[in-house]
Symmetry: none
Subunit: 210 residues, 4 copies
DNA sequence: GATGAATGAGAGTTCATTCAT
DNA sequence: TATGAATGAACTCTCATTCAT
């Protein structure tokens, strides 16, 4: 008769992680506004009050997700920079490898990426700063990389690195939401990376670089 | 004490337009779920009941907006096809003109475009069909154009038209949401079109086409 | 394209009749509260404002229906009294004839009767007086008849005429709502009248049971 | 200024009962459609949200009330059958006892009975099944009892048990709504039962009238 | 720390009634 | 007289948040 939840004592960090993961899954499926606290606590098998022990509000848990993601993204980008330093050689191959690494990263964090794409255009102004910061990180990275390739004479100087970073980010977004993150969709990421690298390389390289 | 609204008698078509325009503005600013009927009727200076005289529900206005937009978009694409038929000549210049025409179209329908970008990732499953249809129109158009350029030997055959259409749409989305639609932003659309055409042309043209 | 109603000029009495009849049909089908003015004017093919030209309010049209019905009922009862005066003879046969006349009357005014049965228990206190008056007419008539049969030695003096009138009315109500007014139901009214008269006259015990 | 309700913490079962009882009282007084959730929560001294913690919708409480009543009614009928089995003897006295038991039952559940009588003619089609089921229980019981008395030679075989059950139910309804349930009305239930039993058993004709 | 019953502001929707034409 | 667009109070229902246990 009693299907009451038993009191579940957990290490605070573990409990927080459970709630955060549940929130990621729920927001990915329903979007921020359609998702309810009830959805999250049901997914986390926690009591209502417990949620508010770990997060100040619905907004707060969303921001925590963004933080989490930003940390992982930064880590990945740091790694990439380290790799890049060790390798010289064919610009196009380097580009392809980078693209593939990114695609794999986003595929690995499918739900968080879905949330980002869903809410990227900032449905709530309160999230604008956090989302802008994330976008900034990606754009800065892309622009920096483009500039460094320009410096090495690989890319045309006539192209604006800022604009190019936007174009690249746009292509990524679209690829992700249309192909990679579609539930039940299995794309060959390396084929995607090939074609995207082919297009982006030919599109931007300088004549001298040929 | 009495700040009752004066009865504003309007022709049904005019009143419907007012409400639809108000809804577009409100949805663009707040997104579908955060926007309330109260917001819309306040913006349209209409009574609550009046809204429901013209639209069955909140969902209904939203779909009406999509319909409206789809009609305009189709009209624009039809026009473009007509223009393309009359003009031959430099592929890159043609591309640039098309891009510019699209950018101008979206800038002219700034709010509706904002809504589309905001809700494109379909926060509500009920809108999926209508949004998918719109996306389809754009993707089909882009793919068709790419294929016709491939047929004329202008674009590399190794590139998938479907994928290319996604990439182009992605670049557009990003440009629009990051630059064109930012409130208070004044970009030179022709500069944007130049760079985008430059990148897209070099990126995809066949060697033979040089 | 225009499915606008043409201005229909009618004699006021005819227009009022149209609206009243429409209201009877609508109230019978939906009940007073579920029925809307929209339903009524749609059924009467009249404009919204026209309704309020002839009736002060929704309540008003309902009371008008009761008035109408009361007039017809009184007429029928007067007739019955006249008939009764001319005929002497077998009490049971008289009873049967009366019952049959009543059943036919209610069947003829099927919709109005349905309304009465539906709303009889007075969902809105504002209708209590009018409904009570109608009930009174029926109960008084039944009690008066019972008393006159008692006076003629036909009925037991130990039975309260008031109570008997209630019992008879109750049997009528039930028969009407369960059998006679069921849509698509075709009962032989004379069979019903036979059994009801048999029961009411002779009682239910078998001769053997005496 | 702050007339905010104090938080009243209750055991769920107790709270549900409070709400259900309040709903019964409100529906009895106003009828299903006129009654509002505001009425119910005011009567139960609960917050709006609390109501929806225990019932899915307005329709849901109503059905819960019917369920509740049906359970009690079935219990009472079961009891009656048990009693009947133990007692033999005078048919008329048995009938009288049964009638009195029913009258007392309905008087004890005055509000629920009122609701049933008010909504019996099914103002909302959604309730038709539940109401029909209740009516069925009563009619079946009455018909079964009549048949068993016919089998014992107590009742005339020429009378249709189905019809008789309707007549008996009709008399009950009328008695209940006109006499027993009238607020502030105190009737002697045993006198009522006497007369009804007398009528139903022996019929209305006087011995002299034979 | 954990629980879940309780809260009420605010959402979308309906509809009797009014009134300018 | 007839019309139908306009109105807003009142309705049912949702859900982020609180707090007594």
């Amino acid at each position: 008769m009693s299907n009451k939840r038993r009191r579940r004592l957990l290490h605070p960090d573990a409990r927080r992680r459970e709630l955060l993961d549940a929130a990621v899954a729920v927001f990915a499926r329903k979007g921020y506004r359609r998702a309810s606290i009830s959805d999250i606590i049901a997914a986390a098998d926690a009591a209502r009050g417990t949620f508010y022990l770990y997060f100040k509000s619905k907004e707060d848990v969303f921001l925590a997700i963004l933080d989490d993601f930003q940390a992982r993204l930064s880590a990945m980008l740091g790694e990439e920079a380290a790799v890049a330093a060790t390798r010289a050689g064919d610009g196009r191959a380097l580009l392809r490898d980078d693209i593939l690494r990114w695609l794999r990263f986003f595929e690995r964090h499918r739900d968080a990426t879905t949330i980002l794409l869903k809410e990227a255009t900032s449905i709530d102004p309160q999230f604008e700063p956090a989302l802008a910061a994330l976008r900034r990180i990606a754009l800065d990275h892309l622009a920096r990389r483009f500039r460094s390739m320009q410096a090495r004479g690989l890319m045309r100087a006539s192209l604006s690195p800022e604009l190019m970073s936007h174009l690249q980010l746009g292509m990524f977004d679209q690829l992700l939401s249309a192909l990679v993150l579609r539930p039940g969709w299995k794309v060959k990421l390396d084929v995607l990376a090939d074609q995207l690298a082919d297009f982006a390389w030919s599109g931007a390289r300088s004549a001298a670089g040929e």
